[in-house]
Amino acid sequence: MNAVKRFRLAAALLVLSAVGGVLSAVRILAAGSAGLPPVQGAEEMGGPPFWAGLMFFALAVAGLFGAYGLWKGQRWGKVVAIVACTVNAVFAAGDVLGAVMVGSLPMGVLMTTSVLGHLLVIGLVLWRERAAAPATVVA
């Protein structure tokens, strides 16, 4: 797979992730400062806070920008995509842990998929080609 295809695949994955992020952020933001009800079985942990909605929304928008930059093969797009995916992957991993703690299998699967998707995007962006080059290293 050449670089253009890698970047475009990563951009497509990032758009999917960003759209998901926007939807969950809108859901949190729409609930207002009262917040969403806690996950069943983990009532003592409470629902997601309002600032989390703001942050997810900002991350999702950054992801969309990053995806655009990636699609165009721009350096800033790669940087933004890496930052957004790293933060998203860490948060999603935390959600996996939360899902395990409350025993929510669907949430666990969804968040694990999210973690793997973000790692895949990072891997696609950072992947170095091993193609033969005309140069020889002399020293």
Binding site: A3, G73, Q74, R75, K78, V79, I82, V83, T86, V87, A89, V90, A93, G94, V96, L97, V100, M101, V102, G103, V115, L119, I122, V125, L126, W127, R128, E129, R130, A131, A132, A133, P134, A135, T136, V137, V138, A139
Partner: protein
Amino acid sequence: MSGARPSGDGSDLPPAPQRWDSDALLSGGLLAGLLTGYAALVYIAALIAGTWLMDQPQDAARPPLWLNLSALAAVAATILPVARWLREGVHDIVYAQHDDPYALIGKVNAALQHMVKEQTTLPAVVRMVAADLRLPYVVIETAARGRAARPATNASIDVAIDATRATSPATTPATTPATVAVGRPLAGAPLHRIPITYLDRPMGTLLAGARAAGRSLSPRDQSLLGDIARQLAIALYAAQLTQDVRASRERIVAAREEERRRIRNDLHDGLAPTLSSLQLQLGAIQRLMRDQPDKAERIADDLRTSLQGATSEIRRLVHDLRPPMLDAFGLVGAVRQLYDEEGDIAFDVRAPDPMPALPAAVEVAAYRIAGEAIHNVIRHSGAKRCWVRIDVGGDGSDGSDRSDGTDGIDGVGDLRIEVRDDGTGFPADRPIGVGTVSMMERAAELGGTLVLENVAGAGARVVARLPIVPLRPGTEREPWSP
């Protein structure tokens, strides 16, 4: 690499790697963020694994010491290879020009298209490459031209002169290799060497120092540098051709003037006094033919001898302009007139039959080169046999094939003349003589090549290849036939 020196006083250096420049900050920040994220992920993964092992999910919020230590060990065990991989990827993103790599090619191409002198353009190109690719050290070394390789052993000599490029050492000095460099190589950073070649001719080398110690440039960087090297090769080749054409024109003008001077001297010093003498003798005959007819008759005899001398002089002049043998016998017949068939050396001349019509310049050059080569065989080789091969090759596009598998020069047909003998060969310490230089010049004037070499086993060989420019309409001649 030895020999490479920065071309300027340091003001033209590319951006040297600074401790706190924006790219370094970006690279370090990205790497730090990625490693932090990686450590967090591993820790969370360890917690999840531990949660399953404990079978008490709620304890994950307060992980025991052994679980924290396990997570720490997992991070410590994997952080180095992951960091190495991440660092290379981040380095590529931050430093390599991935956004529009061929914009650099376009800039280099634009600079090379306006190249007037290599000395002014190449430093600009080197600076451009170093700045755009953020390379600490870039060098362009141009190859020397006009090489004449001498063998190391006494057994044979191989003098290969590419007359299309080098011309003769007597008239055009070979160019010396030039080195244009910017920046300084970083300690421990690999140097990448990209050969600059055009049509299998080495034109130079592009050297690029890696951006960090122990890390080579990415394949994409190397590929881009390879593309730049190809652009450089074309430009350098074109520049050399331009120089060669200019030098060739100067040589042609000089040769024409020299020829005119020689003819003028011959006419002035040889024919003119002879004609004046004839005029005086005729005047004397007029005065004496009535009163002293015997004396007038003697003078008339002298007059006839002088006329024969003048005629010989005119013949010599004409012969120098164009050997009459060529008109009388054609190229092959004229070559056969160059040796004595009853002599000690057995000559074997082979040529296409019928011989196709050749441009006059090619014919004369071929005749002169063959004459000089045969003359050398007779006088110096000690040979018993001599083979002369005349061959006309196509440009390869017409399906024509030659016995040695060679095609024409640069897409046009060529005349190949080979003179080989079974003598002692060229001595290793033989200096290049006037005759050899003359052969080189004749081949070079037509854009051809001349190779002198010893044949493995015994003897020597002279091979001249002269490109045949198609005759202009209206100047075609019939194939020569006796």
